[in-house]
């Protein structure tokens, strides 16, 4: 047991049931206790590794092949961008948005004008992709099948890719739409967050305004099933209106974020709680 004279604990630590924020950490003097310092360093190390450890594409391909539904789509394509290494990728985001000419040549003919192209890119978290891509794709294929949608093309796996690389790949394949699975910028408490970006009628050079995003797919966040349902919703809507991005309002989640005005536990009952 730590000496309570040295390490002052905070009785409001029980409030962690309302938030993942690092509240009630306690203090030594006014500084962080050793246990909290080390927990932070570990979380930061994991986030750094997510950015810098390369995605293991061979392992990813093996994991994809182990799923019958995904394997049925065919052999995944492989591609790289103009960003030759991580340092270039970080300093020059534009390079991660363009296919390397050799990859462009190889991908030509990977699939014949599919309704949907799937792109899996490392992005800023290899961990997110390694951990969440297969469960999400399984859920997506199941959701698409139950909605009667055509099967997508076999996924294209891209190294040193940014979000916009999906438009390049989608355009090259002549796809009607593209869905990008990509590792999001890792947070300290969420180094494993997978992002999904959907574009209708992909072509090179589109702005963010033409894409829809589904964020935070990870075990502690949005589940693969819910993410897949939202992705299928976007596909259906995009097909109906012939557009994606700002023109396509994602109403699948409306009414869940804005509740009726609700008072917090901290709001004093009509001003009688001023302490002194």
């Amino acid at each position: 047991m730590p000496d309570p004279e040295i390490l002052v604990e905070n009785p409001w630590r029980i409030l962690t049931r309302f938030t993942d924020a690092r509240i009630g950490l306690g203090r030594v003097g006014v500084s962080l206790p050793t246990r909290e310092l080390l927990a932070f360093q570990l979380a930061h190390a994991q986030a750094r590794d997510a950015v810098h450890l390369p995605l293991d594409f061979d392992r990813l391909e093996a994991d994809l092949a182990a799923s019958d539904a995904i394997a049925a789509l065919g052999k995944p394509g492989r591609a790289r961008t103009k960003a030759s290494d991580r340092d270039t990728y970080l300093r020059n985001p534009g390079m991660g948005e363009k296919l390397h000419p050799e990859s462009a040549k190889e991908l030509d003919g990977h699939a014949e004008a599919p309704d949907l192209a799937l792109v899996v890119a490392d992005g800023l978290s290899s961990l997110a992709v390694q951990q969440n891509a297969v469960p999400f794709l399984d859920a997506l294929l199941a959701a698409m099948e139950s909605e009667g949608l055509d099967r997508p093309a076999a996924p294209v796996l891209v190294a040193q890719g940014r979000v916009a690389i999906g438009d390049d790949v989608g355009a090259l394949l002549g796809a009607k739409a593209v869905l990008v699975l990509i590792g999001e910028r890792p947070g300290l408490s969420s180094p494993d967050s997978l992002g999904l970006y959907f574009t209708w009628a992909p072509e090179t050079g589109l702005s963010d305004a033409r894409r829809n995003c589904i964020s935070n797919v990870r075990p502690g966040g949005l589940s693969p099933d819910r993410a897949a349902k939202r992705a299928v919703y976007l596909m259906r809507e995009a097909h109906a209106i012939g557009a994606s991005g700002v023109a396509l309002k994602d109403r699948s989640t409306e009414d869940t974020t804005i509740e009726a005005a609700q008072r917090s536990f901290l709001a004093p009952p009509e001003r009688d709680g001023q302490g002194t």
Binding site: A21, R22, S31, F40, R91, R185, P186, P268
Partner: protein, 466 residues
Amino acid sequence: MADGFTHTVGQRTYRFGDLAELMAKATPERSGDRLAGVAAETAEERAVAQMCLAELPLKRFLTDALVPYETDEVTRLILDSHDTEAFAPVSHLSVGDFRDWLLSDHATPEALEALRPGLMPEMVAAVSKIMRNQDLILVAKKTRVVTAFRSTIGLPGHLATRLQPNHPTDDVNGIAASILDGLMYGSGDAVIGINPATDNVAQAIRLSQLVSDIIEGYAIPTQSCILTHVTNTLECIEAGAPVDLVFQSIGGTEATNASFGFALKDLAEARDAALSLKRGTVGQNVMYFETGQGSSLSAEAHHGLDQQTCEARAYGVARAFDPLLTNTVVGFIGPEYLYDGKEILRAGLEDHFCGKLLGVPMGCDVCYTNHAEADQDDMDTLMTLLGVAGVNFIMGIPGADDIMLNYQTTSFHDALYLRRALDLSPAPEFRAWLERMAILDPDGYRLSGGVPEGFAASLGRLPADA
């Protein structure tokens, strides 16, 4: 001057095509200027550009607009509001002589304050480029910018914090939990400011009410701010929401601000609306601005300028609206603009110096993202140096981890470290409240450890575990 600028070192003559190029090439190295293709190509070219810039008369900035007057309202604001009389004491100086003057004992706090309306952001940016970190600190320390609403921010010997209780789904109890944590750690005297996860008017009204209930309920001498678009805040005010401060991210060119979806007249309109509410008690500074190097390039609105000059022009925008707080969010934008701890450190000191010299109440979000080459040690260094330089406020967040915006900024503990290490006090009104609530011992040094009665009661009212 169609011929641009030349400077000869030994056998070699360097040529700089125009003032924008000279400014960019004289800028200490950072990734964003390389990304924009405006940085010096060699270390020698940078050093020579600094020599060349040092010889430039300050007056030159009055005639050589870096962004055209005709097409940019920020340039018009800067030039139209320039005060020739205030400029007189330094009007005969070159950029290099201006550095010497700033560091001399002639540049007293009073002289620097009188000079403010005579300084253009571009002049301040220029001189910062030929100053070392210690120069930026020493001159900033001589400049004081004091503002007030329900608390007084920026007094010598004081350091305030923005309590930033963000939550990824705006859960009211999640936000309140972080607010309680912060208040118990003496945080929140600059503002309690929330970045909403769901960004629309209805949500901003809800969150305004949430924070207002707490501020009024416990009679806390601070102010609230919901960091939503200026036009949203205007609608909140029209709908009768308890708005203290109007927030907006601002940049240094008209095109940057257009990419943020506002023009200067929108800031004026929202400021007037907030002033009409008369909610301040010890002052009426009602604006909260955020800035950051790289925003103009990111919006492809930099007109070939380096990112630090664009940033200084953003302070030219800020000071026209008498803000309570202006916050440079220095490491948030990512490594393509500021690559590592060294570049973030330099940028933080430059921003604080430039803003203060122009009369802007500068705070700094001492921060980094996980894909930048930076860590907590770098943040310790920057916050300490900014504390020495007299920064008005820093952020305060539980455990330095923003679980909504996914980046690391300074924690409640960090601010207490800084106050203790540099003998700084919270805003006077807020300190009195902390003592009244028995959160802070009357010596102003120790936290008392218990939970004050009112807050203990709120913990007692917690619903049973769901």
